[in-house]
């Protein structure tokens, strides 16, 4: 049975008719063509599909598209604004926080959510904050460095960075 839904994604309202069983990740990828969000498992373990739903980082493979009706979603495509990288993206770039890149969008969304809650996380808090995301390439060392970089950068220019990007 179809459901008419309206979801705000990266600031843009999208309306669509969807089946009940359609997962949010498939809505993003197949219906809207936002393929930056990846699928890495079937069992809610890997976090490759992480997006923000109402500001909270969630695994979009374990949320139904209909559950997002009327809500706000942010994906990796929403991190950079006006061609300017978000400090989290910059951190991953500067610190070699990625190799194959497949886990990276989800990892960055978790990092983004963590820094919203905790602008000055310790190494342990960073590792804890990204523990829902598997990476098979980096050994996590440089991901931690990337998040530290982003935290510093965001603390240095919080308002300015946001203003410029908006």
């Amino acid at each position: 049975m179809g459901h008419r839904i309206s979801v705000t994604i990266n600031g843009t309202v999208h309306e669509a008719e969807v089946e009940s069983r359609l997962l949010l990740v498939h809505f993003l990828r197949e219906v809207l063509g936002l393929t930056g969000t990846h699928i890495g498992c079937d069992t809610t373990n890997c976090g490759a599909c992480t997006v923000l739903l109402q500001g909270r980082a969630v695994k979009s493979c374990t949320v139904l598209a209909v559950q997002a009706d009327g809500r706000e979603v942010m994906t990796v495509e929403g991190l950079a604004r006006n061609g300017q990288l978000h400090p989290v993206q910059e951190g991953f770039f500067e610190k070699h926080g990625l190799q194959c890149g497949f886990c990276t969008p989800g990892m960055m969304m978790s990092a983004y959510a963590l820094l919203q809650q905790n602008p000055n996380p310790s190494e342990g808090e960073i590792r804890w904050g990204i523990s829902g995301n598997l990476c098979r390439c980096t050994g996590y060392v440089n991901i931690v460095e990337a998040v530290k970089y982003a935290a510093e950068k965001m603390r240095a220019t919080p308002a300015a960075a946001e203003l410029e990007r908006s």
Partner: protein
């Protein structure tokens, strides 16, 4: 991995939700956090015909103290408990438990109420709630019913909740003076289901003896377990090393673990012994004002 087809309904009140459950009976499943249910549906190990999404019901996400209890709403997420200052400062057992459940992403969706209703013996909340003597508020077609946690779990994935009832709230007794709790878990990696985990709660009297003891065990039986004999062993005694060791031994004897990939039953029993010892020491320390 795609779930089988189902019909999705999103009621806007508990009464409406209960009405839907009455109509659809066993063919319906309640969707709260969905982080146990949706994975099962994706693997087609569960294929409900109707999904009753309660996430659009207002007023179910509370986390506050009143009337001598802490009320935890049906839509209060693990992360809400993990980050709550109230929980951190007054409910150390809950705070310990909240941060070892799955991972941060799952904790952003999963709920305490849903976890109890799912009744997986590997769920951390069952053991924690047994230790603190929580009560489950079930809302059904008639008036609300309050189920002591001891009467809630029947078997693996089975509770005393009726097919037309929804867990609308969990009520946890407010901490008494000179009380302390702790939750400890041994896992293969952070966020994994426990090899074994334990929750301990103690209230000391003026002389430092245990006036009240609560001990819950995770993943060492068909359901979350209360370690009754261990509690009795300790009640009324000053929790010195001997008393704690006696309680730990009792708990390891009364649990009923199964051998699986995580380890043989004997190992889990021994882990219960070790963890109870450590968790009781920590709970007592906290009851005496330590961290």
């Amino acid at each position: 991995m795609i779930p089988d087809r189902f019909e999705y309904v999103a009621p806007s009140s508990v009464a409406e939700a209960v009405g839907l459950l009455q109509r659809y009976g066993a063919e319906a499943k309640v969707l709260a956090g969905g982080h146990s249910l949706i994975p099962l549906m994706k693997l087609r190990l569960a294929s409900p015909r109707y999904l009753v999404d309660i996430n659009r019901i207002r007023g179910l996400a509370q986390l506050q103290e009143d009337d001598g209890t802490l009320g935890v709403g049906a839509l209060t997420r693990h992360a809400d408990l993990e980050t709550s200052e109230l929980i951190r400062s007054r409910y150390p057992l809950l705070a310990d438990a909240a941060r070892v459940i799955a991972d941060p992403l799952v904790r952003n969706m999963g709920t305490l109420a849903g976890s109890l209703a799912h009744a997986d013996p590997a769920g951390d909340w069952g053991a924690a709630m047994l230790a603190v003597r929580a009560q489950v508020v079930a809302t059904g077609p008639r008036r609300d019913r309050t189920i002591p946690i001891d009467e809630f779990f029947v078997d693996t994935f089975t509770t005393t909740l009726g097919p037309d009832e929804i867990v609308s709230e969990i009520r946890v007794p407010k901490p008494s003076p000179r009380s302390g709790g702790a939750y400890l878990k041994v896992e293969r990696k952070v966020g994994d289901f426990a090899i074994a985990a334990v929750g301990t709660y103690v209230v000391l009297d003026e002389k430092g003896a245990c006036r009240q003891v609560g001990i819950g065990l995770c993943n060492v039986g068909a359901t979350s377990l209360r370690a009754k004999r261990a509690e009795e062993t300790l009640r009324g005694r000053v929790p010195d090393e001997k008393a704690i060791a006696d309680a730990a031994r009792a708990a390891s004897e009364e649990c009923d673990p199964a051998s699986d990939l995580r380890g043989p039953a004997e190992y889990k029993r021994d882990l219960v012994r070790v963890l109870i010892g450590r968790a009781l020491r920590r709970a007592v320390q906290r009851a005496k004002g330590g961290a």
